[in-house]
Amino acid sequence: MAATVETVERVRALDKYKYGFVTDIESETAPKGLSEDTVRFISAKKGEPEWLLEWRLKAYRHWLKMPEPGWSKVQFPPIDYQDSYYYSAPKSPTDGPKSLDEVDPKLLETYAKLGIPLNEQKLLAGVAVDAVFDSVSVATTFKKNLEEVGVIFCPISEAVKNHPELVRRYLGSVVPYADNKHACLNSAVFTDGSFVYIPKGVRCPMELSTYFRINAQNTGQFERTLIIAEEGSYVSYLEGCTAPQRDENQLHAAVVELVALDDAEIKYSTVQNWYPGDEEGKGGIYNFVTKRGACRGRNSKISWTQVETGSAITWKYPSCILQGDNSVGEFYSIAITNNRQQADTGTKMIHLGKNTRSRIIAKGIAAGRSDSTYRGLVRIGAKAAGARNFTQCDSLLIGDKCGAHTVPYIETKNRRAIVEHEATTSRISEDQLFYCRQRGMSQEDAVALVVNGFCREVMQQLPMEFAVEAQKLVGISLEGSVG
């Protein structure tokens, strides 16, 4: 009990800083390490209700008992969970900024460096940005436009305060806290993330976007995203990530939950280019993400599109649970690994309802000494009559020191279902490279062009804003891989 009192006092002490004006961005951090007190600290810091604290503690206690998942094809030294900070928030008045003018100017400067024209985005792209800088949302644009149609788009911590009934009903309903070690950790210590609620029959008027940034050193990021699409609604959500260079490995264990009710559609796109470590594999982000969507309603649809180019280790399986009859799940993925990066990614399509359909297109590109694995599950339940799945996994190898692996699991319990899986592995075509070189393209441009062609099917699924960025990324990620 004494420890709890101590924590409360520490929180009070930390609170003293809150009126101070800050020029340099210093994080308000929880003490290093993970314990029940850390969980209580985070919860107290967020002013959370009792039920959420209980839920976090339940998750934390379960986490202690869970073994590290060892089935994936990635190798890394054991994570020292006590050597990390679990809470860091950019300092700002507790009331929060009311407009961009009130946002910490230094923060805006950092964004500018990273190339996000937050000010211009309003005018240019029509994208509402809920920018997350080290765990706490600092600016939200286009809120008014969204409010007019009844869309709720806010940090999840705010949603806990303003819409507790929604959060309580859906949080953990798709990814239960005991789902896996990393999701369990996230449930215990999640700091912030986005909350989206699209009311019945509303087509969200703009693409919603969150930029995640990892900034303070040694800070694990534990984002929690919850998107609920009510009957007949539609939303497209973009998630993009960049991170400045650093040496220490950083743990990132996010959880994304999507719920689509009758006739609703959610499109979730990700571009991930976090720091992958240097050429020898030193540093870089550990990206252990649990993403899952539940097509609860009839005719609902969830579509995942991801471009994964960053992170030292990617461990990520955006999945769809197709519960509602006629529901549709899609997964389009590009995973590019270079140097010593390791990616173990794929999807799960769980067909439960009748006439459910899923489509998986996964493109893996491995260069340098990297390893890229597609790991996926297609399960056709006994009641999923008329279910249909098509899976295509293609791997491209650049160089003779890399590895590409395909590990699909296909479980069929209904004869009226049709399941098809195809996979190929081949090297980048010398002929195609030669053709490009002959026409005066540099080796690197040629590789980028060929690889972009290889990924075209997935690129086409990306929203415009991302497609351009993603194409550039492909080229940048493969720099130095040939020649």
Binding site: A382, L397, C402, Y409, T412, R415, H421, E422, A423, T424
Partner: protein, 443 residues
């Protein structure tokens, strides 16, 4: 001694086991037994046993016997080959060799077909050098509990050896008959095939049953193919429907050698074929094909692993299955292309027809590739019969059951007709026909 099932059999068998006076063999058996008693039967927590549970096997309570049962009321063991054709046969009943039923015929010079027991008596040194040479050393972390169990308790089996350049035109047939005992028996045949450079042979293994008793056959086979050797290895597993069948094959394929295997499964309540092929010489090639027809509550598992260890090797793998009633089939195929094994070619395909609402197929086709100049692909499909094709046949006045049977037969015939030894095809097609008619094939 641990509680692992079957380990108590060792005490019963100890003195009846062949070669119990050979120190090297006793050591090998002891270390395998120890490894098995630590691991026990594989459970579904092991990734490679994710879809197959051996719990039903544990429940039966099998016994062992050191000596064959005296009288068996058959005068001729069944054959998959036309009666007129000249061939060489070895017959085993409940794992014991039956010289009276075997017909060795005139084997050409350089070819030797004999039993493990005989080789143990006459050439123990040769056996010491070859036993376990391909399947790996049974060390502490031996990942193959069933092969360890086999090594500990192997009683007999066949040994096929060909000298350099020996080419056998007539196939060799090995028949295993089970269920002849007066109580449920477990036995562990161990077979060795060693082909010298440029030798060629067709080997047919036929597993079927005689009596009414359930039985458990746990087979271990090691195949070693030297440069340019060719082995056509065909197997029909038509065991009794309450029998258990687990078979582990390890094959090492040398330069320019070919291992061509085809296995058909119609029998056993629970069966698992585990085949591991190492393409260890440049130009090595392997075809690993299979077909299975299961119904009732049968469980059929085909697990294969192909390792491309050196450049310029190729493999192709096609498994086709038909699953009816509440039966369950498992296909796990892994192709690994090792570092520097450039110009490897690997193709793998699993196709399954599900005929009932309770039938299940779990497939895990896996590629693991560490070399860039390779062409590898795999595919897997599962579904019902093609409705359009069915409609086409029905619209031409063919009744539904016949139309379905025709389509299933055509689906499987493709893989049967690719067999190089055409002599065996009629027998395989007829066992498909019998299965479709809902009758077990009489012997």
């Amino acid at each position: 001694m641990s509680d692992a099932p079957f380990t108590d059999h060792y005490g019963v068998l100890r003195d009846a086991l062949p070669g119990h006076d050979l120190p090297w063999l006793s050591r090998l058996r002891a270390s395998a037994l120890e490894s098995f008693s630590v691991s026990g039967l594989p459970t579904q927590r092991r990734e490679s046993w994710k879809y197959t549970s051996l719990r039903p096997l544990e429940k039966v309570g099998f016994g062992v016997t050191g000596a064959p049962r005296a009288c068996i009321s058959i005068d001729r063991a069944p054959s998959l080959l036309p009666a007129a054709s000249e061939h060489h046969r070895l017959v085993f009943v409940d794992g014991h060799h039956r010289a009276d039923l075997s017909t060795l015929g005139n084997l050409p010079e350089g070819a030797e077909l004999t039993t493990l027991r005989e080789v143990l008596t006459n050439e123990p040194d040769w056996l010491e050098a070859h036993l376990g040479a391909v399947s790996g050393d049974p060390g502490g972390d031996w990942e193959q509990p069933l092969l360890a169990l086999n090594t500990a308790m192997m009683m007999n089996g066949f040994v096929l050896r060909l000298a350099e350049g020996t080419v056998l035109h007539d196939p060799i047939e090995v028949v295993h008959l089970g269920g002849a005992g007066d109580r449920p028996l477990a036995y562990h045949p161990r077979n060795l095939v060693v082909l010298a450079p440029r030798s060629q042979v067709t080997l047919i293994e036929h597993y079927t049953h005689l009596g009414e008793q359930p039985y458990y056959a746990n087979i271990g086979t090691e195949v070693s193919l030297a440069e340019g050797a060719v082995l056509h290895h065909y197997k029909l597993q038509a065991d009794a429907l309450d029998a258990f069948h687990t078979a582990t094959v390890h094959a090492e394929v040398g330069p320019d050698a070919l291992y061509d295997a085809f296995g058909m499964t119609t029998g056993a309540r629970l069966s698992r074929n585990e085949i591991a092929v190492r393409l260890a010489g440049e130009g090595a090639n392997c075809h690993l094909n299979g077909a299975y027809l299961v119904r009732g509550r049968q469980h059929c598992d085909n697990t294969t692993r192909i390792d491309h260890l050196v450049p310029n090797t190729a493999c192709s793998e096609i498994f086709k299955g038909v699953v009816d009633d509440q039966a369950r089939a498992v296909f796990q195929g892994k192709i690994t292309v090792h570092r520097d094994a450039q110009h490897s070619k690997g193709h793998q395909l699993s196709k399954v027809l599900l005929l009932s609402d309770k039938a299940e197929i779990d497939a895990k086709p896996e590629l693991e590739i560490y070399a860039d100049d390779v062409v590898c692909s795999h595919g897997a499909t599962a579904g019902d019969l093609d409705h359009d094709a069915l409609f086409y046949l029905r619209s031409r006045g063919i009744p539904e059951p016949e139309a379905r049977a025709l389509l299933i037969e055509a689906f499987l015939a493709e893989s049967v007709h690719n067999i190089a030894a055409q002599g065996i095809c009629p027998a395989l097609m007829s066992s498909i026909g019998h299965w479709l008619a809902g009758r077990p094939k009489e012997i």
